[in-house]
């Protein structure tokens, strides 16, 4: 076998290995992204509760909690699912929505804003277990579960 043929075969082999490397790389990336999606899906919770952890009088009332509906409205007006009894809350202050297995909070152009973990939210934000929501001077804690509440 002449040198030219060997060199050509080596060139072919090198291209094949390069393509193989790329395939392996993309396969590994694809698999790790899939795993990430699975982990995120495992964290989904279709039931959630909002526990009141303090209000304008700074009283802690951990016993008071609300089961969340797929669309829950929060605000000062009595028409809301959760009535926030605080003069700094707007009539319709915020909504919490269940979408694709995640709970999202959205500020409804309230005058004083909605704080999530002491940061004012600018856009609909996904909620995690244990997040603290402040509306006016009232504070709530988000509790996510996989089971329906029996109480």
């Amino acid at each position: 076998m002449s040198i030219e043929v060997t060199v050509f075969l080596l060139r072919l082999l090198s291209s094949l290995i390069l393509a193989g490397f790329l395939l392996a790389l993309f396969y590994l990336i694809w698999r790790s992204l899939n795993q990430m999606t699975d982990t995120l899906e495992a964290e989904q919770a279709h039931y959630a509760r909002l526990a009141s952890i303090g209000d304008q009088n700074d009283e802690h009332r951990p016993d008071k909690s609300f089961a969340l509906l797929p669309i829950t409205t929060l605000g000062r007006s009595a028409s809301n699912a959760i009535v926030v009894d605080d003069e700094y809350a707007s009539a319709l202050h915020a909504t919490i929505v269940l979408e694709d297995g995640r709970w999202w909070i959205e500020d409804r152009e309230s005058r004083n804003g909605t704080q999530l973990n002491d940061q004012r939210i600018q856009q609909p934000t996904a909620l995690a277990d244990g997040d603290e929501i402040s509306i006016g001077r009232c504070r709530y804690r988000m509790i996510l579960t996989k089971q329906r509440f029996t109480s």
Binding site: F8, L10, R11, S14, I17, L18, F21, L28, I29, Q122
Partner: protein, 432 residues
């Protein structure tokens, strides 16, 4: 407890399988090409020592990482070994006298990367002693103005190197790492201050906290441009600073203001500095001066076109028509001899490095410093790779930076490897 440890063990064995799969594919690629190189060109370009050295670096490095950091990201190390082995091969092909030097630097760099990755306090030190480290790096950079030299010895070449005996060291390379670490730690502490929303609902950027770093980076970039004529480093520092600031504050005005500053600075620099004017002119239209000032970039475009889909094959193209091809223009040589397939592979490797770096950052949800550090490191590598690859392809004006892991240059290789070492350490400590 039992099922969890079992799951961790299986996760770690999957990771080590992934690492060895990619490493053996890289090894096969480099061995094939070394053989092809030995058969196709004169005897002085045989690079068996380089191959042996690369294999031992890969084996030892892989074993050590597997032993000490079983939870690390398994893809980073094989990718950088793949790129640096390929780079070594290209240097042996293009500039055989430089290959021995680069092999020694690869050995040193791999050692430094492993040290940084395995040694548990490196990250904390980068944060605790940030002002000292920054001061030392700045002092070294200023020293190049006074005592700088250039290995090529041309009287008008930029003097970016410090000489210690036979070793040349480029402080601006070290500055990349130092700057990212400093910004990550400084901005990380200011992150909460940045995020406090204003009365009108817009993010309220704290001007005084921003002034210090902005002044520092701008001054650094201008000094590098005026005294050193190092357009690449000046651009790189400023772009990475802007991106990190944007990621911290989440405020679009940072990007808009930064873009405005870059445009104004570019306009001024075009009229004030010959080097900038030259780069922009030959970017807009290189053809009238194809055999004088634009010779390098035109030859680079020729190299790309003659490469075609699968390249001419190693040792069979003529990449040496591009002047100094082993340094900034190594990407053009690679495109000629490995073709579009090679170009796509290199692009994918840098893309995957960046992707993994960013995801390591995102998994550090508790520490702002670690999050910004991982993101800053990957942004720095990505920006550098994009700037030089785009420049060589005449997509953007050419800024002379090295292609990380590929180009000839010890300081660049060492710093890029240390950056990867830090990323590997960060990935091992991140939430799974």
């Amino acid at each position: 407890m039992k099922p969890q440890t079992a799951r961790q063990a299986s996760g770690s064995s999957t990771r080590s399988r992934q690492q060895w799969l990619l490493l053996s594919l890289s090894g096969a690629f480099i061995a094939t090409n070394t053989l092809a190189l030995a058969l196709s060109v004169s005897a002085e370009q045989r690079d068996w020592i380089g191959l042996a050295l690369w294999i031992s670096c890969a084996l030892v490095g892989g074993k050590i990482l597997q032993r000490f950091l079983p939870d690390r990201d398994p893809i980073l190390f094989p990718i950088v070994m793949f790129l640096s082995g390929w780079g070594l091969l290209a240097i042996a092909r293009l500039a055989p006298p430089f290959a021995d030097r680069q092999e020694i630097w690869l050995l040193i760099s791999t050692g430094a990367m492993l040290l940084v990755a395995v040694f548990p306090h490196a990250l904390r030190w980068m944060r605790s002693y940030r002002y000292i480290i920054l001061a030392v790096a700045l002092a070294l950079m200023l020293a190049t103005i006074a005592f700088g030299s250039n290995p090529s010895g041309f009287p008008f070449a930029p003097r970016l190197w410090l000489r210690f005996g036979t070793i040349y060291f480029q402080p601006s390379e070290m500055m990349k790492l130092v700057l990212v670490a400093f910004l990550a730690s400084y901005l990380g502490e200011s992150a909460t201050a940045f995020r406090i929303a204003g009365e009108d609902g817009s993010a309220n950027v704290h001007l005084p906290r921003l002034l210090g770093p902005t002044a520092l980076i701008s001054a650094l970039s201008v000094v590098m441009l005026i005294w050193q004529r190092d357009l690449g480093a000046a651009m790189l520092f400023f772009v990475v600073f802007l991106l990190m600031l944007y990621l911290t504050s989440g405020d679009w005005r940072v990007i808009a203001g930064g873009a405005a500053m870059v445009i104004i600075a570019g306009f001024l620099a075009y009229h004030l500095f010959d080097v900038v004017r030259l780069r922009v002119d030959i970017w807009l239209n290189p053809w009238p001066e194809a055999d004088s000032r634009a010779y390098q970039i035109v030859q680079s475009l020729m190299a790309f076109s003659s490469g075609g889909l699968f390249g001419t094959g190693l040792g069979q193209g003529s990449p040496l028509y591009v002047p100094v091809a082993h340094s900034d223009f190594i990407f053009a040589a690679l495109a000629e001899e490995w073709g579009l397939l090679g170009v796509i592979s290199v692009l994918s490797c840098f893309a995957v490095l960046t992707l993994r770096g960013l995801s390591i950052g995102l998994r550090h949800s508790t520490s702002a410093f670690r999050r910004l550090f991982a993101i800053g490191l990957s942004t720095m590598l990505a920006a550098q790779a994009i700037m030089i690859m785009g420049g060589v392809l005449k997509l953007i004006p050419l800024t002379g930076v090295t292609l990380p892991f590929f180009s000839y240059g010890g300081s660049s290789l060492l710093v890029s490897f240390v950056m990867i070492g830090m990323l590997i350490r960060l990935s091992a400590e991140a939430r799974q």
